[in-house]
């Protein structure tokens, strides 16, 4: 399939257009899906093309609108809900956890709930305690939910298509700092399967397991590490549930060292789960203690003076890898490359969110 350059948000938009074109039962709703900004560009043009019956703005009723998606899905509809901030979706945890996740199991396999819930999460720009939570671990903790966290533009498209046509409820987590990232995106129905991680860099020294935005930070370190004689396997998980344990285990068996990056708070994190599982399954293969790099267990602060110490990035990853190998690696080059302030994805970003 031919590829072109698209932004991550453009790729999401293309996936929505294709899914709605392919299946007239796909509907798309959420606060602001048809507003002039189109949820960071991801829903632009949908209403014009597919009409107001299938693409609509909604009342600020996150919980009921999730239950409504569940009910509609029982009669053949495939709803895609969009929330501009994950934090607001917390009001819908009842419908997600008690109904969507359980429906198939609690009715003995009678019916699945094919709904997709797009949640945008992020970091920086003073979004603070209730506008930047990364709660993938909450969702991954609930049997019955699938949890998807794309990093690249191609995966944004391919995984969203897979989510929409998946028979089970999918929580699709988009990191705001990825929306403007440009990448090669295949044309057509280029679905990416769940549970298949992508190896973005190959090396024998350390296994870095990552997902979503932290994979970008890790990619920034690969060249510097290589210059210093350190080669890492960089595994981008793509989906948190199902999780590609095979790729993780295969790599750790080879390297004997594991660093897991997470975009959320440390305790009970996805990173913690990966460290636990690897420690239990591959205890004998480990050459050093596994490391998880996640946020400290505080709410996200607003002031740039505080968020600078709260969030981690490429420089911290280099330090962690060097520490695991007992090496000293200068991060001066990385510091020089990082010209934009710490609280934005790039100089182009001027807020407001």
């Amino acid at each position: 399939m031919t590829e072109r350059k698209l932004t991550f948000s453009g790729a999401v938009n293309e996936a929505l257009h294709q899914a709605m074109q392919q299946d007239r039962n796909v509907i798309c709703y959420g606060l602001g899906v048809d507003d002039p900004k189109g949820v960071f560009g991801t829903t632009l043009g949908l209403k014009e093309k597919f009409g107001p019956k299938r693409v609509f703005d909604m009342p600020t009723s996150e919980n009921a609108m999730t239950g409504i998606a569940i009910g509609a899905s029982l009669n053949g509809i495939r709803p895609v809900m969009t929330h501009q901030r994950l934090d607001f979706f917390l009001l819908a945890m009842d419908q997600l956890v008690n109904n969507a996740a359980k429906w198939r199991y609690m009715f003995g396999g009678k019916r699945s709930i094919p709904i997709t819930i797009r949640l945008i999460l992020g970091r920086g720009w003073g979004q603070g305690p209730t506008h930047s939570q990364n709660l993938q671990a909450w969702f991954a903790h609930i049997p019955g939910l699938k949890v998807v966290m794309p990093t690249t533009a191609a995966d944004a498209k391919g995984l969203l298509l897979s989510s929409i046509f998946d028979p089970d409820p999918v929580v699709f987590l988009e990191h705001r700092w990825l929306h403007n990232l440009i990448g090669d995106v295949p044309q057509g129905d280029a679905r990416v399967p769940f549970g298949k991680a992508q190896l973005l860099n190959k090396g024998n020294d350390v296994t870095i397991v990552s997902f979503s935005y932290m994979t970008i930070e890790a990619l920034h370190t690969m060249e510097l590490l290589k210059k210093n004689g350190v080669n890492c396997d960089l595994i981008d998980l793509r989906t948190i549930c199902p999780l590609d344990w095979e790729s993780v285990f295969t790599s750790v068996k080879k390297t004997g060292r594991l660093l897991v990056l997470d975009t959320s708070n440390e305790t009970c994190s996805v990173a913690g789960e990966i460290v636990a599982r690897v420690s239990m399954e591959l205890f004998g293969a480990l050459k050093s203690a596994p490391v998880r790099m996640a946020l400290p267990d505080f709410p996200s602060p607003t002031s740039p003076a505080l968020s600078k110490a709260f969030y981690q990035g490429a420089e911290d990853i280099v330090k962690a890898v060097a520490g695991m190998l007992g090496k000293k690696i200068s991060i001066d080059d990385l510091k020089k490359q990082h010209t934009s302030p710490h609280d934005v994805p790039g100089d182009w970003f001027k807020g407001p969110f």
């Binding site: 039962n25 509907i27 239950g67 396999g109 028979p167």
Partner: protein, 324 residues
């Protein structure tokens, strides 16, 4: 039999069927074989029977924890329900749901769940799907007086009114949420149906122990909904005879009076309608005797089916979490 007599006969039959199932559960619960929380609707059979008969088999219905009557009234398979309560593989939810998770999609009963108000938006979503598909079905949401206190009820009602969805809300007001009376939960003098009306949904109140009145009201209302008039809310006063959850009477606890219970027992929906039907000669004593024998046989068979069915094998434990 004339149509009117047929309806009387069927309303009576459905009520008696529900009553016998519930009372047999109560009688046999102490055997310890029905190992799940069980919310009986003895005394509330009229709404279940009437709504079930007034709706079409292809109309949808969802319900909550006290759903046996709604399921059976809609025509749900009694064998599968009893097997479910016994935790058997042949249960309607393969033994994974129990009394609070009933489903029989073949008669449009799309599911009952245990969280108060939890299926209200699901029923509204079914209404949205009906509107999108352009069929003439109705989606019926059974709820209680407690569910209208949940935020999700207001959110769901707002959307149903906004989009003129084909949803029929059937609110059984039995005055208690577990042991909590309405007086500690809702302001005095504010009727539920009036509050709903103020939200833009046409609403009426009726006697939930008058099966014929409920039937007529639902038939008329469902017809309007089918013609695209949007949602409708019907509130019916009624009374559960037994405890909130379980097989016993609990009027001795003091949260409600025995006097109140006896007052409602006198208004037993089955006795009231039986008397009326006999008086009008819609049914004869022989009809009733035959009906009772048939029901007894069906209920005995359902319990036997449940008892004799196999438990799910342990391999089922991890199945059906995901489709694939």
């Amino acid at each position: 039999m004339a149509q009117k007599q047929k309806i009387s006969h069927e309303l009576l039959r459905r009520m008696k069927h529900i009553r016998l199932v519930e009372e047999t559960i109560a009688e046999r619960y102490s055997e310890g074989k029905m190992r799940c929380p069980t919310h009986l609707c003895t005394g509330q059979e009229a709404v279940s029977a009437a709504v079930g008969l007034a709706l079409r088999p292809d109309d949808f219905a969802v319900s909550s924890h006290r759903a046996h009557g709604h399921y059976l009234g809609k025509g749900g398979d009694v064998n599968a329900m009893m097997a479910e309560i016994y935790g058997k593989a042949t249960g309607c939810s393969a033994g994974k749901g129990g009394s609070m998770h009933l489903i029989d999609e073949s008669v449009g009963f799309m599911g009952s769940t245990a969280i108060v108000g939890g299926t209200v938006p699901v029923g509204v979503g079914l209404g949205l799907s009906i509107q999108l598909h352009g069929t003439t079905q109705v989606s019926c949401v059974f709820l209680g007086d407690g569910a209208v206190e949940e935020g999700v009820f207001f959110e769901s009602m707002n959307f149903a009114v906004l989009r003129k969805l084909p949803v029929l809300f059937i609110c059984e007001n039995n005055f208690y949420s577990v042991y909590s009376p309405l007086s500690v939960r809702q302001p005095k003098g504010r009727a539920i149906y009036k509050m709903v009306e103020a939200m833009g949904c046409p609403a009426e109140k009726g006697d939930g122990n008058d099966v014929e009145a409920v039937y007529k009201k639902v038939l008329k209302t469902a017809g309007q909904i089918r013609r695209g008039k949007g949602p409708y809310f019907l509130e019916f006063d009624t009374y559960r005879w037994r405890e909130h959850c379980g097989p016993n009477f609990d009027n001795d606890l003091g949260y409600r009076t025995n006097q109140e219970y006896l007052k409602w027992k006198k208004r037993d929906p089955i006795l009231l309608f039986e008397k009326k039907s006999l008086g009008r000669k819609d049914v004869s004593r022989q009809d009733i005797a035959k009906m009772e024998t048939d029901i007894k046989q069906a209920v005995d068979m359902a319990f036997a089916f449940a008892e004799n069915s196999p438990f799910p094998s342990v391999d089922e434990l991890g199945k059906d979490v995901y489709t694939k």
